[in-house]
Symmetry: C2
Subunit: 243 residues, 2 copies
Amino acid sequence: MKVQRYKHDLDFSYTLGATLTYELIRCAPGSAQCVFLNSSTEKTGGIADLLASCEKYGIPVEQNDKAFHILSPKGNCFVIGMFRKDPAPIQAGSHIVLANPQDAGNLGTILRTAAGFGFHDIAIIRPAVDCYDPKVVRASMGAIFHVRVEAFDRIEDYLARFPENTRYAFMLNSSTPIRQVAKSEPFSLIFGNEATGLAEEYAHFCQSVVIPHSHDIDSLNLPIAASIAMFEFTADRWDGSAG
Amino acid sequence: MKVQRYKHDLDFSYTLGATLTYELIRCAPGSAQCVFLNSSTEKTGGIADLLASCEKYGIPVEQNDKAFHILSPKGNCFVIGMFRKDPAPIQAGSHIVLANPQDAGNLGTILRTAAGFGFHDIAIIRPAVDCYDPKVVRASMGAIFHVRVEAFDRIEDYLARFPENTRYAFMLNSSTPIRQVAKSEPFSLIFGNEATGLAEEYAHFCQSVVIPHSHDIDSLNLPIAASIAMFEFTADRWDGSAG
């Protein structure tokens, strides 16, 4: 199979690494199109399990060293999965909304936490990093196969589709600390991008909220702020259970 | 000045970028040894402010394109600071303890959150990534200049120095959810590394704690878990204030 470097307009993407590829086949076997091994991949242990799963689901396995040169030039990867993008519209319920996220690692980390705290629907306002970029897929540690991600051209388009959601906009200049805000479901937790945060206008159509911190830092890192918010808004659900 | 690539055994390190170098000079002017500009650095706006601060503190400024080739080969950086490492022993009080952190970006992000939530003392158990690695300094967004970081060869050495601290070990198999654990100051919040977490033995000398999450993910990302814990253990302090 001819392999090409990932681009946004392709209808497929890649899982770089054995664990991630295993997660693809476990969670989304219908989307998996091919698994590539290279000539130094040892077919023992976890790799043997992976190959058994491929056989079970009829997923072709191919030795293809060139795929590794193209997709993982650093050479620290011995299994690559290729999968069809299957975007599904987000559904009614509580959401995470990311306005213009730019960093692939950050988006992937947010998807991972979202899956961990039971958020299955993530809205992204363009322009934004492509959620199928292999770097996002990798940072999500496979969580991308557990959530729906839908991109909207404008925040207004998102708001019009989900008018019933209570909107919480995370803004540094808010006077409402996160612990004190009244939490009402379904809700939308809205975050700005890494460099600029949310525009002032968000305070007009959202309840603004802040995660208070000291003046030693300008802001929390975006995935950190989003994760603390996700935990805080769902902690009651998890209080009784341990993992 | 002759510039060399950063190595652990040097007694100085670097801030790569204008904002970070500004933070160095604002917070630790006595440690700053030199500021490098390259021939395309425009001396206007924030850079002019930076140069004024250098003059105020008697910090030499040098045009040195070679420094950029060596330290920031990607070419997306126009100011570099060079600073003397000034490690100080951690002090009595509540601490973050990181056993064998491996990833520079993760450590930097944890330092940033720590500074944000008022933790000024971070213990690191070796082997571990070097906290003065320029990648750590950068990911900390300058928070490294607001905290003390001390490395210990063994967890026992750390525990012997701070016997009064209540020890909380974050472990996936703990049966005590973070919201339900009795919190007693001063405390040590202890986290394992990215790949393996904490060894079972930690449960013998610590109260084990878990941040409950769904089975859709194996674990939270290390800086995410550490940040949620820092927030949860200090949230009462911040409830009344808004940033």
